[in-house]
């Protein structure tokens, strides 16, 4: 009787540990960040007009913990990245990051109690793909996928795909076009004009 109980307990334990590994690290880590962002967005104390800058800073910090802007910049420049000097790369990452921050801050500040469902995850070290769906108040479903890469102990996002449109691919196309039709310097000029 007692042995049967121990076996059962062992089985339950094995089962539970499997259950836990079901949501792997990339998805878990992504969820931590998304939850954090939503908490900031929902915080009534931060909604006051005089807290606007603080809120922006908190959001920016929460997101930069999980996003690898250098990896994004590198992929967006693709083969043009190789030709850049270390200083140029540094400057480019800073500008690209500024552009992305402006974009996503504006976008997530429109958050209106949408629900997020974590659908699927594929891991192929050091890469991972996490599929989520955002459900709007009108129960429309917007698929959002995160591409992640393992860096040290953390998984970092290097691309976001919304309804099939990859952010990095979209920028890659624009950057490539500008560099080819004029020059890298022109691209930097235009980025500066946009980001300031």
């Amino acid at each position: 009787m007692k042995r049967a109980f121990v076996v059962l307990l062992a089985l339950v334990f094995v089962f539970l540990s499997h259950m836990q590994s079901f949501a792997g690290e990339p998805m878990k880590e992504l969820k931590v960040t998304v939850d954090k962002v939503i908490r900031i967005l929902k915080d009534p104390a931060l909604k006051k007009p005089d807290k606007k800058e603080l809120r922006k800073r908190l959001l920016r910090d929460a997101i930069s913990e999980r996003f690898d802007f250098e990896e994004m910049a590198k992929r967006a420049l693709a083969r043009h990245w190789r030709k850049r000097t270390p200083e140029e790369r540094k400057e480019f990452v800073r500008l690209f990051r500024g552009l992305l921050e402006r974009t996503y801050l504006r976008r997530i500040e429109q958050y209106r109690d949408e629900r997020i469902i974590y659908k699927d995850e594929r891991i192929d070290p050091p890469y991972a793909l996490v599929k989520t769906v955002v459900i709007t108040s009108q129960s429309a479903e917007i698929p959002i996928e995160y591409r992640m890469i393992k860096e040290g102990n953390d998984w970092k996002v290097y691309d976001v795909t919304i309804e099939g449109v990859s952010l990095v691919n979209n920028y890659r196309r624009q950057f490539n076009r500008i560099i080819r039709s004029s020059s890298y310097e022109e691209l930097v000029r235009r980025l500066k004009r946009k980001v300031g």
Partner: protein, 242 residues
């Protein structure tokens, strides 16, 4: 008679297009480590670029000066819930487009789901104003099929990129698709004046539910024309795969 002529012309155009079957418009352009089902980087010939850019600018002004103010005004008069209901209504009456294209792609299950949804929503959803099948019975709308996708599954490439006034980004293939789908849209069988009126309401209603999206694209882009073209291509490509 008139209709038959138009139909013949349409078939002729399609046959013509298929005969010189343009390239797939997909070219690999590797960038660092690839991963799993990472999209191949898409590209599309754009021989009309100078003209397309002019039309793009025109659409930009049209949006900010006419369509957006119009949709804003419409939104203040028509409550949001009702605008979503109108959206459902128009989605419901264009069911023939999706059923026929599902069948043409051999997706009979999907055609069945669309038909069933049409029957349920037209009755239980009161003329399709409410997505009763999706919201109450869990029969969610499948991904839309249209003739552009049908031609795509038959192996036809995009051809080249086109920006249409008002309608925006498209390709040769998807333009043929839109023309073909026009025959399956019940609204087009109304008298001309009524059809124009209904299409205007449909368009304004739709615009009112998407205010801000174009602004986002423009704000995040360094070259909005290229960004829009790429977004269109990536979006259509994903639809084709689904």
């Amino acid at each position: 008679m008139e209709n038959k002529k138009r139909y013949m012309l349409f078939v002729l155009v399609i046959l013509l297009m298929l005969s010189f079957s343009p390239s797939k418009g997909v070219c690999g352009e590797d960038a660092g480590p690839d991963y799993l089902e990472e999209e191949q980087y898409l590209s599309i010939p754009d021989p009309l670029e100078p003209l397309n850019r002019v039309v793009f600018e025109f659409n930009d002004r049209l949006y900010f000066w006419v369509l957006k103010p119009l949709a804003r005004g419409y939104s203040t008069v028509v409550p949001e819930d009702f605008r979503y209901a109108m959206g459902s209504f128009f989605h419901n009456i264009t069911t023939p487009v999706r059923v026929v294209n599902s069948i043409l792609q051999g997706r009979l299950r999907k055609a069945g789901v669309e038909t069933l949804r049409f029957l349920l929503n037209t009755t239980g959803g009161v003329f399709g104003l409410n997505d009763f099948a999706g919201k109450d019975l869990g029969l969610k709308p499948p991904d839309d099929e249209d003739m552009g996708q049908t031609l795509g599954t038959y192996g036809m490439g995009h051809g080249f990129y086109i920006v249409w006034p008002v309608l925006g980004p498209s390709s040769l293939r998807d333009t043929i698709g839109i023309a073909g789908d026009g025959f399956l849209n019940p609204i087009n069988y109304l008298a001309f004046k009524e059809a124009v009126l209904v299409r205007t309401v449909e368009f304004t209603n739709k615009t009112s539910l998407h205010i801000g999206e174009y602004e986002e694209l423009k704000a995040s882009a360094i070259d909005p024309y290229v960004s829009m073209q790429d977004a269109y291509l990536q979006y259509r490509n994903r639809k084709l795969k689904k």
